[in-house]
């Protein structure tokens, strides 16, 4: 699969690493090249400096032929806007977005964006551990 990831933090970087090791074609975008330190030296994918909300960066990242787009920047709004650009402008078949705010997460999942709220998932996991 061709996967474009926006945001190379701990999560984005790790996801890129795992997918790359699994044989997928990965392009990871970040506004700051220093973020690419999260990628291992064995990373075979492409690390691209740029803003995922920017048309040129998206095209350079190969969004037009991507199978999956994932947004994992620190900003919920940036993530959902980029996800909606990928879905509605470039018709990427699968679009997944990280949204911290559980209420916004619920709303956007109703609007057709696959969403994951680390806040919700993390709290539920912790609750499970405590109550076991």
């Amino acid at each position: 699969m061709k996967v474009v990831i926006m945001g190379c933090g701990r999560v984005g970087g790790r996801l890129a690493t795992i997918l790359d090791a699994g044989g997928h074609k990965v392009v990871i975008i970040d506004v700051d090249s220093y973020s690419f330190r999260w990628l291992p030296s064995a990373f075979k994918g492409t690390a691209l400096v740029g803003n995922g909300l920017d048309e040129q960066t998206m095209i350079k990242a190969g969004i037009e032929n991507a199978d999956v787009f994932v947004s994992t920047t620190e900003g919920d709004n940036r993530n959902v806007m980029a996800a909606q650009i990928a879905k509605h402008i470039y018709n990427v078949p699968r679009v997944v977005s990280r949204i911290y705010d559980p209420i916004r997460e619920e709303m956007y999942s109703k609007l057709g964006i696959e969403t994951i709220s680390p806040t919700k998932v993390g709290a539920e996991l912790l609750q499970k551990v405590i109550e076991e």
Binding site: L53, N77, I89, D101, R104, M107
Partner: protein, 222 residues
């Protein structure tokens, strides 16, 4: 009307002031404490400190009874999300977003934002109007951008100089609304109105016919 303004920067401040003067109920949502103080010192207790993109904040300020929500933060993505949450979660009938990147206009419309205002395009249009070789400039978009009001200055070498309006061949959906002479006097256009060099014409056209209208009024030279 109850109008919520997300973003208490300069734009948010002046929008709130204008709306208050118009007798509306206005609430500004701003996350920065300093900006909140400036606004409440000048305009009264109309500020709520918080994140206007957060559904919980919008719930707290009674967004479900708002008539309009205006997103004027400095970030396109925040304006988009504030409008989308207002629309989809609180059924706000009208949402307006300020845009910095004009390329996002189509996306915002597609995603349900009712009105977009591109500050970059407005600045560009205003500057273009002041440039010497810019015969046509867009003054205002109406009907959701399907029509626009334009201003055209007739250059001395234009083929329409000395012609009556009835002799002009204008593109479809283009209407001349006003002729302003070089001296500043205005005329409601009649078929017999004769155009002179340096006249300024205010017309309505569609974005598609803009170039055709320009060519009809100033010639094909460009």
């Amino acid at each position: 009307m109850y109008i919520i303004v997300v973003g208490g920067g300069e734009s948010g401040y002046y929008i709130a002031r204008t709306l208050l003067n118009g007798g509306h109920e206005v609430l500004v949502i701003e996350s920065d404490a300093k900006r909140c103080t400036i606004i409440s010192d000048n305009l009264g207790n109309i500020v709520f400190r918080g994140d206007g993109c957060e559904a919980a904040t919008l719930e707290e300020v009674g967004t479900n009874r708002a008539d309009i929500l205006i997103g004027v933060t400095g970030h396109d993505e925040d304006n988009l999300v504030a409008c989308q949450v207002a629309k989809h979660k609180f059924n706000v009938p009208r949402t307006i977003a300020r845009l910095k990147n004009p390329k996002h206009e189509g996306l915002f419309k597609k995603l349900g934002v009712d009105v977009t205002v591109s500050s970059t395009n407005l600045i560009l249009a205003n500057i273009k109007r002041e440039l010497p070789d810019s015969p046509l400039c867009s003054l205002l978009a109406i009907k959701g951008g399907t029509l626009e009001v334009v201003n055209v200055k007739i250059p001395p070498n234009s083929p329409v100089v000395g012609k009556q309006l009835s002799e002009l061949e204008l593109p479809e959906e283009s209407i001349i609304c006003l002729v302003v002479s070089k001296g500043g006097s205005t005329q409601i256009p009649k078929p017999s109105t004769v155009l002179a060099a340096e006249d300024e014409i205010v017309a309505i056209t569609t974005p598609e016919n803009e170039i055709a209208l320009q060519n009809a009024l100033i010639g094909n030279s460009s």
